[in-house]
């Protein structure tokens, strides 16, 4: 097979080379050399983005599984597989990210033997471990189908109800518990973001992001694979996203109202600027857009609204993990380039793996044959289709 360099392949290669260099620095010179984390800022970009955002961006999996298998929304059936794949890759890459961030990653299995049930981190760890396993089994039918293995598919179908309920239960638990992680820092995290309602916000925003990510990734993969865009699916998701955003907004408002923060959030300050950015991206723009029926029925409008939502909640997570601590610490934290490059490498790996899976497995059932046919005639699409925007991280 001929190897043709395309623009995205070159970008991918550069990201991987820089990432591998940073990986070398990380494991041969330590966390201090590779990152700008300090005793004052023990959690940096990797926790803020790779972990908090990564898990949030993988929420599409449990949202779509819940919609289709739990509530029997048949019309969304075609997006379940890509959503489950995204979630599975997202979690695997989250664990990869953790191996960079943990000071002693070689002892990660200690979670299993030295358990501390009082620790939120322990709960997160156990949920991630079990949910990744569940996602693996939810993903397996793709592989079985690819190789025409009928018997194991039957086995999986038998336990599917259990997998579905277990998957949603675990997602509820640990999407919210990522918020609970911060409950123990009332004196450190800025009051804009510290609230006893953090676990509820983390779960609520995960649902909104799950819907937005599914719209985003359906649009992107339709473009990348030349598939027909399934507008009715996107319209359904867009409506659900609007409801989810309103619920999130009301919860946020209630929280600020009850804590008497409403006057403060409008006063200009360092934190307020970031909060405004977050609220504009999460609520003002997408809710404004989706309120128009014309936008709700247009692929581009839905795409824009979902991108805004995703960026907004990424801002929210970074505000909580990084910006919210700067006043307490007394100085700014800016990740080192090597930190960025490892995060980028993990994202790129996500894109590449999604591309490979979409190419060789029946992820998009109806388009599968078309892709296969194309494979025979031309040297396949770029493995690292980075336009396939979705999460792995």
């Amino acid at each position: 097979m001929k190897f043709k360099l395309t623009f995205w392949k070159i970008v991918f290669l550069i990201i991987m080379v820089l990432g591998l260099y940073s990986t070398f620095v990380r494991y041969f010179y330590g966390l201090g050399a590779v990152s700008n984390m300090t005793d004052q800022f023990p959690w940096g970009l990797w926790i803020g983005f790779d972990c908090l955002c990564g898990v949030m961006l993988a929420a599409g999996g449990f949202c779509m599984v819940g919609a289709v298998y739990l509530f029997n929304v048949e019309s969304l059936h075609s997006v379940v597989r890509p959503a489950v794949l995204t979630a599975f890759l997202g979690y695997v890459l989250f664990i990869v990210g953790l191996l960079f961030d943990l000071g002693r990653p070689w002892f990660i299995w200690h979670q299993l033997i030295y358990r501390n049930p009082h620790s939120v981190m322990f709960e997160v760890g156990m949920c991630v471990m079990t949910y990744t396993t569940v996602l693996f089994f939810e993903f397996l039918p793709n592989v079985f189908e690819r190789f025409n293995l009928k018997t194991p598919i039957k086995w999986i179908q038998k336990v599917y109800p259990i997998l579905i309920v277990l998957g949603i239960l675990l997602s509820t638990l640990h999407q919210s518990s990522l918020g609970s992680l911060y409950l123990i820092m009332p004196s450190k995290l800025h009051p804009f973001w510290y609230t006893p309602a953090l676990p509820f916000f983390f779960f609520g925003s995960a649902v909104a992001v799950g819907l937005a990510m599914t719209i985003f990734e359906s649009t992107q993969s339709a473009r990348a694979f030349g598939r027909q865009l399934e507008l009715p699916v996107l319209v359904t998701l867009g409506g659900a996203l609007l409801v989810a955003l309103w619920v999130n907004l009301l919860l946020r408002f209630e929280d600020y109202y009850h804590r008497g923060m409403l006057a403060q959030i409008f006063k200009p300050s360092y934190e307020a600027y970031f909060l405004w950015l977050e609220l504009t991206l999460t609520f003002v723009i997408p809710i404004g857009l989706l309120s128009f029926k014309k936008v709700r029925l247009s692929p581009n409008g839905l795409y824009l609204a979902s991108v805004c939502t995703v960026l907004g909640f990424i801002t929210n997570r970074l505000n909580i993990a990084l910006i919210g601590f700067e006043t307490y610490v007394g100085h700014h934290y800016m990740p080192k380039w090597t930190e960025f490059s490892i995060t980028l490498m993990i994202i790129a790996m996500g894109f590449a793996l999604f591309g490979v899976a979409a190419k060789y497995l029946p992820i998009f059932p109806e388009a599968h044959h078309a892709v296969k046919a194309r494979l025979r005639t031309e040297p396949g699409p770029v493995v690292s289709t980075p336009v396939l925007g979705h999460a792995g991280d």
Binding site: Y27, F28, Y29, G30, L31, G32, A33, M37, T38, D39, Q40, P42, W43, Y69, L70, F71, N72, D101, L102, G103, R104, P105, F107, I108, H110, Q111, Y114, R115, N116, P117, H118, S119, V120, M121, F122, E123, G125, P161, I164, V165, I168, L169, T172, L173, S177, S180, L181, L183, I184, M185, P186, S187, K188, P196, P199
Partner: protein, 255 residues
């Protein structure tokens, strides 16, 4: 009975012998350069701060209900019955949640090491178990750092404030903060001026309670939520089955 340290800043002369004794006890380097450092780090568990002609010591507060121990996923930190909050390095996975969770930001990290450890004052647990005072208390020439039973030390601190009210801020820092700590501070100026978090800010509630309120609901939440989800699944699929059966029946009667 649980042991504690009472540090009375008005008695401190800033000789920094406690720093040196601490370094020696914990096999850490100590020279003029280290002595000049004014921040705690992985190689300096305690520091004597100077402001004008007044001094203040910083070290791990050894909370009665430590946040660090409650957040550690592998239980690498725990509070011993004698008072010290100790660290089992072989358990640690390096998540650094303890550092983020500590209201006093006491745990420090070996950022340059390839198998890094969390470092903080562990209140000389071996000495304490053997009935000896901590290294810093033993060497203190003026008795500014005093080792003893926590209840006795609180009584003594209250007595010192009562006898010399003009000498002290009327508060024993650590008696109630975050539910009480095993390091108690007396001083003539507010300890907040030396970087300690304000009492009002950290409150009297033990930190683990903030997460405990959520964590204790989980054992109930799991079965309830499983039943709800299973119920929804059953209902929505039962509906499908019924619809199918009805359609079949209709077909049958139509024929």
């Amino acid at each position: 009975m649980s042991k504690a340290l009472l540090y009375d800043a008005t008695l401190c002369i800033g000789c920094k012998q406690c720093e040196g004794a601490c370094a020696q006890q914990n096999k850490l380097p100590y020279d003029d350069n280290v002595a000049a450092e004014t921040v705690q780090s992985a190689h300096k568990y305690t520091v004597v701060l100077t402001k004008d002609d007044k001094f203040m010591r910083r070290l791990c507060m050894h909370c009665e209900e430590p946040a660090c121990a409650s957040v550690c996923p592998v239980g690498a930190l725990h509070k011993t019955s004698e008072g010290p909050v100790v660290y089992d390095v072989w358990k640690c996975i390096g998540c650094r949640y303890c550092m983020v969770a500590c209201a006093f930001s006491q745990p420090k990290y070996e950022w340059g090491a390839l198998n890094p450890r969390v470092r903080k004052c562990i209140m000389c647990p071996d000495r304490v178990v053997a009935g000896k005072p901590t290294a810093c208390a033993e060497i203190c020439p003026t008795g500014a750092t005093k080792f003893g039973d926590r209840d006795d030390l609180i009584r003594e601190a209250q007595e010192r404030i009562r006898q010399n009210p003009s000498n002290y801020v009327n508060r024993i820092y650590g008696m109630k903060e975050v539910g009480g700590t095993s390091v108690l501070l007396l001083s003539s100026v507010k300890v907040e001026e030396y970087g300690f978090p304000a009492s009002a800010r950290i409150g009297d509630t033990p930190m683990p309670e903030y997460t405990g309120r959520v964590m204790e609901r989980i054992p109930d939440f799991i079965p309830v939520w499983t039943l709800v989800l299973g119920g929804i699944y059953w209902v929505s699929h039962r509906r499908e089955e019924v619809a199918e059966a009805e359609a079949e029946e209709k077909n049958g009667s139509a024929r």
